[in-house]
Symmetry: C3
Subunit: 357 residues, 3 copies
């Protein structure tokens, strides 16, 4: 039962009942909700933030958020009555990283009947590591070597435990002995991925595929700021020489960056390849914002290791536009606003259903 997906037709029918002159942009108060809500206002939509009781006060401060609803549990969104109210209110949900984490990709696919911006099927593909790998393969995008078992490890590798969230429970090893040594520290250590650790600079490009304009835009780029790995380099050699300290990769923020211009065509090409592969692998393909986490080696080769097929938090620096967004738009264009702009473009060309699922 739970595996029965909501059909596109069901959402279309709900959308048919919407008052298109009074759409409301709704999301969960976290992750990138500020820019989404501000983008809604800038694009003349009403905005709604669904918040845990602990943070409602925070979102209520901002003028551009028209309404804040408090919930005890984010899964309350799935309740029939809650969904009906959102639908009654002509809400379009914008799924972001925390939204997917709190509500769950499967619940979104099987239980959430409120229309969402983009293609919800992508959430299935980004959250399943094997599907993600086959997506990269279909797109012929270079990825780090995968070691099927600890015994195969023949170089610096990163071990990622599936239960681990946001970079916790990741660690580096160079051989099977180090693997088993580190594994002791992980509680739920049944399922993991062992990947070659590619050394290089990190880029998180923010793509936006506009279905309406049929073009792939590069809206920005960031570097994740992770605790504690981004603090390790500041410990002087004198100390680190003998310091016992386990690395962790908790995402705590984002630092803005630009790539050298000669890398931009490659970065955009990788985006197009992923987009085209998505259309082969599942219905409708990617619609709207996505990110491909990548490493740039010393040979200027780009190696990709993760897909986020929705708005990423690294866009938060560009609340007021980015160096790249200014290449496409003469006004400040955050990724959140770009989503709302796409809804506007779809509305004015009578193609709303093409960007909503």
């Amino acid at each position: 039962m739970s595996s029965q997906w909501i059909l596109k037709e069901e959402i279309d029918e709900i959308l048919d009942c919407y008052d298109q002159a009074n759409l409301k942009i709704a999301t969960i108060g976290s992750h990138s909700a500020l820019q989404i809500s501000k983008g809604a206002r800038d694009e003349n939509f009403k905005s709604l933030a669904i918040c845990s009781e602990a943070v409602s006060w925070f979102y209520e401060q901002f003028d551009f958020i028209d309404e804040v609803i408090s919930v005890r549990n984010y899964k309350d969104i799935l309740k029939k009555r809650f969904q009906e109210e959102l639908i009654q209110d002509n809400c379009i949900l914008i799924p972001h990283g925390s939204f997917v984490e709190y509500v769950g990709a499967e619940a979104i696919l099987t239980k959430l009947k409120v229309p969402c911006f983009g293609n919800r099927i992508t959430l299935e593909w980004e959250s399943d590591r094997e599907k993600e790998m086959s997506w990269f393969e279909e797109a012929r995008i270079k990825v780090p070597k995968v070691f099927k078992k600890p015994e195969e490890i023949d170089r610096l590798a990163i071990v990622k435990f599936f239960g681990a969230k946001g970079g916790k429970g990741y660690f580096l090893v160079r051989n099977k002995d180090e693997f088993y040594e580190m594994k002791k520290f992980i509680k739920k250590a049944n399922s993991y991925l062992i990947q070659e650790y590619v050394i290089g600079t990190r880029f998180y490009p923010h793509y936006f595929y506009s279905k309406i304009l049929d073009r792939l835009e590069l809206l920005g780029m960031d570097i994740r700021y992770e605790s504690n790995v981004d603090a390790l380099g500041r410990i002087p050699p004198r100390i680190s020489r003998s310091l016992e300290l386990r690395e962790s990769y908790s995402i705590t923020g984002n630092i803005p960056v630009v790539a050298r211009e000669s890398l931009l065509p490659k970065i955009l090409e990788i985006g197009y390849n992923l987009l085209n592969a998505s259309r082969k692998l599942f219905s409708f393909g990617i619609i709207g914002p996505f990110c491909i986490e990548m490493i740039c080696t010393e040979h200027l080769e780009l190696v990709c290791f993760e897909i986020s097929s929705r708005i990423v938090a690294g866009t938060n620096f560009y609340m007021d536009g980015s160096p790249y967004s200014s290449l496409y738009f003469d006004e400040p264009m955050s990724c959140g606003r770009r989503i709302c702009r796409e809804i506007n473009l779809a509305l004015s060309s009578g193609r709303l259903k093409e960007v909503i699922f």
Copy 2:
């Protein structure tokens, strides 16, 4: 005698004689003077930069600075005649980090009769490490463990010598032996603080408490760029393995950053806690800009280690507004301009004395 503080009433009386239609925003030419002066112009005030002879030419270049005065010594500001001229000119001084360092917190509290933006009493509290600690305690803000003597050190710790300015004379140790070993290199090594060294990402949020609007704003955020610690990580392992090199923490610049959105309510809450504690501990509490230097651990816990209760230099990246300032204002709003805007808000509501001391 020198400990006799200037009374708020004295400043109020001086302010009564001011021509409120012709206020001039004045500060020392350093630290964040550019954004303060530009902010003054943007908010329709005249601006004055008091500069050492060596840098007057630099500030004279900029159109938005109406007047540059050269001084041999920044303490000249304290001279009776100089103060009278500033008062004659309807000047409001904006104290910043270098201002406080050059003129001295005590001199500002006891000798400087020129009206200042904000609450000058905070300068006493930010510059005295024991007062700062009791402020954190009153606010129930998590701080690193303090070791009362070298013999207590049981983990990685940072030693801060009180004479040390801007991060020089700080170093890391793991036990009393390392402490005494490193102490040899410090000249005036009588007085120091030994604090647990918390490993994590660093955030320097720029708060602004608006007395007039009664709200705490988050105007921006930065990471300090310190020499030489921020250069250590680039030295290859092959070399650093045997490199003898002492760490230092001289602040040389600032890198922009955003925190993950789920941390923002916590960051703002910490700010409110500090604000509320300030009102309990001393008259008037914090007014205007302040910063709480903090570390984010791998468990997403925020540990705070310093207060700056005036504009910080990390705001300099946001000369033209920040991702966060755009949440409150539809125009470019630097922290310097925000100060001037507050003066304007106070003026137009007849509440100038509430933001000046």
Copy 3:
């Protein structure tokens, strides 16, 4: 023959035939071409991007690029017929880092008759390391100590092989033994520079000398983001303690930064010194954008190690203006736009020849 430089008079004659009301801004599609082309549009010029066949599609996406020409080889620009067409079209070329690399400084000086913005003689001085050193010396700018032979190395030093491009083939050594050990890994290892490795924070200030306004502007500042050295600090001590890994310095991108305000007069002074020295050393001196790569030590001393006497890629973050550009201009002013603005200022005061060679 190839050493016969094109005379300024020849370019002036060509410029005399130009239709000044229809100038076209042309550059090679790479490096900083996006901001240059966008700047051209913002300043009401037509824009042309000369691209390799592989990247034409990328530049054709952008509205602000009026024309894209594909070439098999960038040196095609030097062909007589190609040059004639550019001249026919009233093109002003903007040389950038990749432009100089692809076409070659010598070819630009001896074969390229198309008018260029700035003073092409500077390209000779930035690309010849000995000339660069004498330029620093004439300007009395502090540089790292140079070791004439490996036997002289008495501290941490960086070895730069002349054939090496963009930071590849650079490595660190501490003595002659390490030098000869590392030298084995370099193929064309005949010619090199051994420089003291100064440890500190890095700043790449973006200067613009306006001939028309006779002022030196500071338009921005960045930190280069290099692979793999900027990834080394994230490897945990546990691993790096025994990791064999060669450092490399491939430039992959740029991170924005501001320097503490008290450093700005020094940074501008260094720029003026280099400018004044340029006028003594060669005809016309620097015109337009340049960058001096520098390290800030823990003692806040600035040590300079390279000159780029044309637009640098670090300006790419500031496509829409920078914290510093907003001190001079009330509109978004990228370095690319600043170049075009200078051409406009020159045009309107009848001084175009002063900024073109």
